[in-house]
Amino acid sequence: MALGSTPAIACIGIIGQHDNPLHISLFPPHEDEELDMSFLLNSSLDIFDIRLRNKTVDQDLGLLHAVDERLATYGWLTNTGIKFIIAIDMMGRPPTETTPNPQARNLPPVLGLRDSELKPAFKAIQSAYIALLMNPFYTPEVRTPMQVMHATGKSAEITSKKFINEIQRIGKTWYPGITSI
């Protein structure tokens, strides 16, 4: 494998109750692949549905699907129906990038990921999301699916800079084996 060959986060998606995207963050080298990533997230949403139908599920859904040998998506579902999706690029970042955590560089190349390795990232995203909800000036959108379908005007995307920065930080800090972000 080329590039960094330490798996890295390629994309983090926050999806609302009615499968409406609230926020999507992209990470290098995938910054320009917005369309591909939305497609990837969208296809992951179906797996949420399937998993929900099959059994009572834990918040951590683990591996949703591996698209090819490079990309895989992992999911987390809160009890209020908000979905966090992380897409992992098994080839990691271009080596030119300065890795924020030097430890990450010394890790041996990883071929597989255990589901639990993404738990710290999901926990951090959830904390960030809770902090966002606690902000009195942020109004979470409460709409029925019909309203979402026929909605015109502005979408419910998250605009909070604090939240977006935090998601960026999480995506850039995470590496396999990290215990807390």
Partner: protein, 187 residues
């Protein structure tokens, strides 16, 4: 006197309330005020100050009963009392008293932490960052409380971490002592 009050009886019976409850309640009030006044932040600041004043004139009674403190000797004592006991009892924080003027009539309270503003991110409309003093209720509380103990003061925030400043600083200035006035024509 301060030490006596510090070790006072109030310590054993401080009532506790969930911090998030306070934060969210206050946050909701401010957000609602902003909505009601259609983001006229000057009005919102004024309303918060007024609400704080009404809280202060009542809260001082509770404060005095809990701490059973005597009259402060000078304004410096008052400042210490506010920071080390007042804020400690009601918000469990101890803002730093600093930046005294030479005449001892004006000081700053530096808030290292502000439970009212946890989680808060000011609206990104280009004005809130410059106009809204989110925690302005505290200014009113001080004004109300001190007025009941014969001190007329003026308090306002000069910086706030929420606005991107490095510190949260409130400036408190003693205007005058309110002398006990006899009712006119009281023979």
């Amino acid at each position: 006197m301060l030490d006596k009050a510090k070790s006072g009886i109030w310590k054993s019976r401080v009532e506790k309330v969930n911090a998030e409850l306070v934060t969210l309640t206050y946050g909701t009030i401010v957000a609602q005020l902003c909505a009601d006044y259609e983001n006229d932040y000057a009005q919102v600041n004024q309303q918060l100050e007024k609400m704080g004043y009404n809280i202060g004139v009542r809260l001082i009674e509770d404060f005095l009963a809990k701490t059973s403190t005597a009259r402060c000797g000078n304004f410096r004592d008052t400042a210490d009392m506010i920071s080390k006991i007042g804020f400690k009892i009601f918000l469990n924080i101890t803002p730093t008293v600093t930046n005294w003027t030479a005449d001892n009539k004006s000081f700053s309270l530096l808030f290292d932490e502000n439970p009212l503003a946890d989680f808060v991110e000011l609206p990104d409309d280009g004005r809130a960052q410059d106009e809204l003093w989110f925690s302005n209720i505290l200014c009113g509380v001080l004004r109300g409380a001190l007025e009941m103990v014969q001190m007329s003061i003026e308090a306002h925030f000069v910086s706030d971490i929420l606005r991107g400043n490095d510190t949260t600083e409130m400036r408190v200035t003693l205007l005058r002592m309110i002398e006990d006035e006899l009712p006119p024509d009281d023979e």
